[in-house]
C-alpha cells in the first residue's frame, strides 16, 4: 500500500466560548492517498469544516496537539495563531463562500498574483502571465478581464473558479475543498465539480472534499469518511460504503437522502434521522451516536469509551460497539 499523502491522527479542537469549552473536533483520524479524493461527510456540526481548517493550519486558536502530516513533511500541530502559523506547503484550500473568501477591495489578478509571487518566486510580467494562464485553465473566458475585475463584479460560479485558481497558484499536492459547490446553483455546481475532477486528472491532485451531498460523493470521490460528533465513524471506498454501510449512523444518513435515482413514481420518501446531533459541550457517554441509534444495545453502547474503528475488509473500517462485540 502506498503511504498516505496526508495523515491525520487524533485531531482535536476545543473552542473557548462564553458558555464554556466546545469540543468541535474530538480525535478525528483519516488519511488521503496521493491522487485520491476523500469525501468528508456528516451532518451539520459534525466537525467537517473545523477538520479542514485545522489541517490547512488556518483555524486560529482552539486546536490542541494533534498529528497532521503531509508526506515527508514535518508534523504539524493543530494549535496555531492565524496570523503566525507557518504555511503548510503542498496544501491549498477552496472555501465554501467565494464572495467573502476573496478580499473585496483587491482585483482578482492582484490576489492571485500575490500567491503566484509567493509560490513561484516570480515578479512583474511573469506573474501576470501565470495569473492569466491559471484563470484560463479554470475555464474562465476572457481571463485577462477577470483578472482586472473585483470579486463583486463576478458571478458566484466565476468567483468560485477564481478561488480555485487562487488555490492552484499555490501548486498544491492536496486540495482541501469545504463544500465548494454549496453556494452555487445546480448547473454551475456540476460544472465546478467537473473542473475539480479535471484538475485531479491533469495534476494528479489529491483532494479532501467536504460535502453533505451524496450525489457529489458518488460522482467524484474515491473514498468516504463519515463524521459524527467530531470523530470519523466509518471510512471506506465509495461504492462499497454506499452499497453496504456498516455503521448505524451511516445507514441512517443514507436513508435520509432523497432517492432520485429510482424509477419514476417509485421515489421513496427520505426517512428523517431521529433526534439531534450531540451537544459538543456535553457529549453523551459511550458511543456518541447511541441516543439516536436504532440498534443500540443498552449496557454496551451507552457505557465504555467510544469504540475504536474496526477493520472490515479492504480499506473499510467502522467505529461501532456492535461490530466489535
Amino acid at each position: 500500500m502506498t503511504p498516505p499523502l496526508l495523515s491525520v491522527r487524533g485531531l482535536g479542537v476545543t473552542f473557548a466560548t462564553p458558555f464554556g469549552p466546545v469540543r468541535g473536533l474530538d480525535g478525528a483520524d483519516f488519511d488521503v492517498a496521493p491522487g485520491e479524493i476523500l469525501a468528508l461527510v456528516g451532518e451539520s456540526g459534525s466537525g467537517k469544516s473545523v477538520a479542514s481548517l485545522a489541517v490547512m493550519g488556518v483555524l486560529g486558536p482552539g486546536g490542541d496537539g494533534a498529528r497532521v502530516q503531509v508526506e515527508g513533511s514535518a508534523i504539524w500541530d493543530a494549535k496555531v495563531d492565524l496570523l503566525r502559523a507557518p504555511h503548510r506547503p503542498g496544501l491549498a484550500m477552496v472555501f465554501q463562500e467565494p464572495m467573502t473568501a476573496l478580499n473585496p477591495v483587491l482585483r482578482i489578478g492582484r490576489t492571485i498574483g500575490e500567491a503566484v509571487a509567493r509560490h513561484d518566486g516570480v515578479r512583474g510580467e511573469a506573474v501576470t502571465a501565470r495569473v492569466t494562464t491559471l484563470l484560463a485553465e479554470m475555464g474562465l473566458p476572457d481571463p485577462a478581464r477577470v483578472a482586472r475585475a473585483y470579486p463583486h463584479e463576478l458571478s458566484g460560479g466565476m468567483r468560485q473558479r477564481a478561488l480555485i485558481a487562487l488555490a492552484m497558484a499555490c501548486r498544491p499536492r492536496l486540495l482541501i475543498a469545504d463544500e465548494p459547490t454549496t453556494a452555487l446553483d445546480s448547473t454551475v455546481q456540476a460544472r465546478v465539480l467537473g473542473l475539480l475532477a479535471g484538475l485531479r486528472r491533469s495534476h494528479g491532485l489529491a483532494m479532501l472534499l467536504v460535502t453533505h451531498d451524496f450525489g457529489v460523493v458518488a460522482q467524484i470521490a474515491d473514498r468516504v469518511a463519515v463524521m459524527y460528533g467530531g470523530r470519523v465513524v466509518e471510512t471506506g471506498p465509495v461504492a462499497a460504503l454506499l452499497a453496504h454501510p456498516a455503521h448505524p449512523y451511516t445507514r441512517a444518513l443514507l436513508a435520509a437522502v432523497p432517492r432520485l435515482d429510482l424509477a419514476r413514481g417509485e421515489a421513496l420518501p427520505a426517512e428523517e434521522m431521529p433526534g439531534t446531533p450531540p451537544d459538543p459541550r456535553h457529549p453523551p457517554p459511550g458511543c456518541r451516536f447511541h441516543p439516536r441509534c436504532a440498534v443500540a444495545r443498552p449496557g454496551l453502547c451507552d457505557s465504555g469509551p467510544p469504540p475504536a474503528p474496526q477493520a472490515l475488509g479492504p480499506g473499510r473500517a467502522a467505529a461501532c460497539h456492535l461490530l466489535a462485540a
Binding site: V58, G60, L83, H87, A92, A149, S155
Partner: protein, 295 residues
C-alpha cells in the same frame, strides 16, 4: 450664507468703535463710514458687496487698509505648514498605533496605544497647548512657544493639533482592524501562504484604513477649527490669527471673506473625502455597475 455673514457681522458692532477706542468726532466717523461705504442703507451695502464679489473683488480691510486677499495670502503658508504637518504626524503616529492597538489588544502595548488615544481624545486643544508650552517651552526651554519664525516654532502647535486626530485614528482603526481580522478573506490569504505581517498590512490594515480615511477626512473640519485656537495660543501668523483679529475689531470685509472661504473649504473637503473613498473602495466606485455574466 452670504446674507448670514453680512448681517451677523453688522449686528455685532461697528469697526470704528473697536479701532479707535479714544473716540472719534462725529465728522471723522462720517468720513470713515463714507470711505468704506458704511453710510449707505444696509440693502445698498449688501448689493454693492455682492456686486464686487461677482467681479472677484473681495474688498479692503478696514483696520489695515489693504486688500483682504493680500492679508489672507500672507497668512496662508503658515496655516498650510501647520495643517499639513499635523496631518502627516497624525498618519505617521496614528496608523501604527491603531494597528498596534488591534494586534496587541488585551496586552501591554495594546493598552499603551489605547491609553495614548484616550488622552488625545479627552484633552481639549487649549489644555494640551498650555501643558506643552509649560513643559517644553518654559520648564525645559527646548522649543519656542510663541511666533512662527523658524520650523521649531511649528513643533508644539503641530503636536497639539495632531493629538485629537491621532486619538480618533487609533480608536477607529483598531475597531476596523478587529472587524476585518475576523473576515473570511484573511483566512484565505493565510491559506495561500502569505506571511502574517504581509496579511496584516497588505490585507487587514489596508481594508481597515478605508473607513478610517473617511473619519480622518471629516475631521479635517475639526482641524481647521482647532487651528483657529492653536494659532492664537501660539501666536502663529496664520489664517486663524487673521480671522480672529478681524473678529475682534469687526473688520467686516476680512471676516466675511474668512467665513466664506471656510464654508468653501468644508464643502471641498467633504467632496474630496467622498471622491477619495470611492477611489479606494471599488464596491462604491462601480456600485451598480454590470456584473460579468457567467460563461
Amino acid at each position: 450664507m452670504l446674507v448670514v455673514t453680512f448681517a451677523g457681522a453688522r449686528i455685532s458692532g461697528n469697526p470704528f468703535d473697536y479701532l479707535y477706542d479714544d473716540g472719534l468726532t462725529a465728522e471723522q466717523r462720517a468720513e470713515l463710514s463714507a470711505e468704506f461705504g458704511l453710510d449707505r442703507p444696509l440693502p445698498a451695502q449688501f448689493a454693492a458687496y455682492v456686486g464686487a464679489l461677482a467681479t472677484g473683488n473681495f474688498g479692503v480691510s478696514i483696520a489695515q487698509r489693504r486688500p483682504v486677499l493680500d492679508l489672507y495670502a500672507e497668512a496662508l503658508p503658515s496655516t498650510l505648514v501647520l495643517a499639513v504637518s499635523a496631518f502627516a504626524l497624525t498618519l505617521a503616529v496614528g496608523l501604527p498605533l491603531g494597528v498596534l492597538a488591534a494586534v496587541r489588544r488585551g496586552r501591554f502595548w495594546g493598552g499603551v496605544a489605547m491609553g495614548v488615544a484616550f488622552l488625545g481624545y479627552a484633552m481639549p486643544h487649549f489644555v494640551l497647548a498650555i501643558i506643552l508650552v509649560l513643559v517644553f517651552g518654559l520648564a525645559l526651554s527646548w522649543l519656542p512657544s510663541v511666533g512662527g519664525d523658524t520650523p521649531w516654532h511649528y513643533v508644539l502647535p503641530t503636536v497639539t493639533l495632531a493629538a485629537g486626530l491621532v486619538a480618533s485614528v487609533v480608536r477607529f482603526l483598531r475597531g476596523e482592524m478587529l472587524e476585518v481580522m475576523g473576515q473570511d478573506h484573511v483566512r484565505t490569504a493565510r491559506a495561500t501562504g502569505l506571511s502574517g505581517p504581509r496579511v496584516l498590512w497588505g490585507h487587514v490594515a489596508r481594508n481597515a484604513a478605508l473607513p478610517v480615511l473617511t473619519i480622518v477626512g471629516l475631521q479635517l473640519n475639526g482641524l481647521i477649527n482647532g487651528s483657529l485656537i492653536i494659532e492664537t495660543v501660539f501666536a502663529l501668523p496664520g489664517i486663524g490669527q487673521t480671522f480672529v483679529g478681524a473678529v475682534q475689531v469687526r473688520d467686516y470685509p476680512v471676516l466675511q471673506f474668512g467665513v466664506m472661504a471656510y464654508a468653501l473649504v468644508v464643502v471641498v473637503i467633504n467632496l474630496g473625502v467622498d471622491a477619495l473613498y470611492a477611489v479606494a473602495d471599488p464596491r462604491i466606485r462601480r456600485g451598480g455597475a454590470t456584473r460579468m455574466a457567467e460563461a
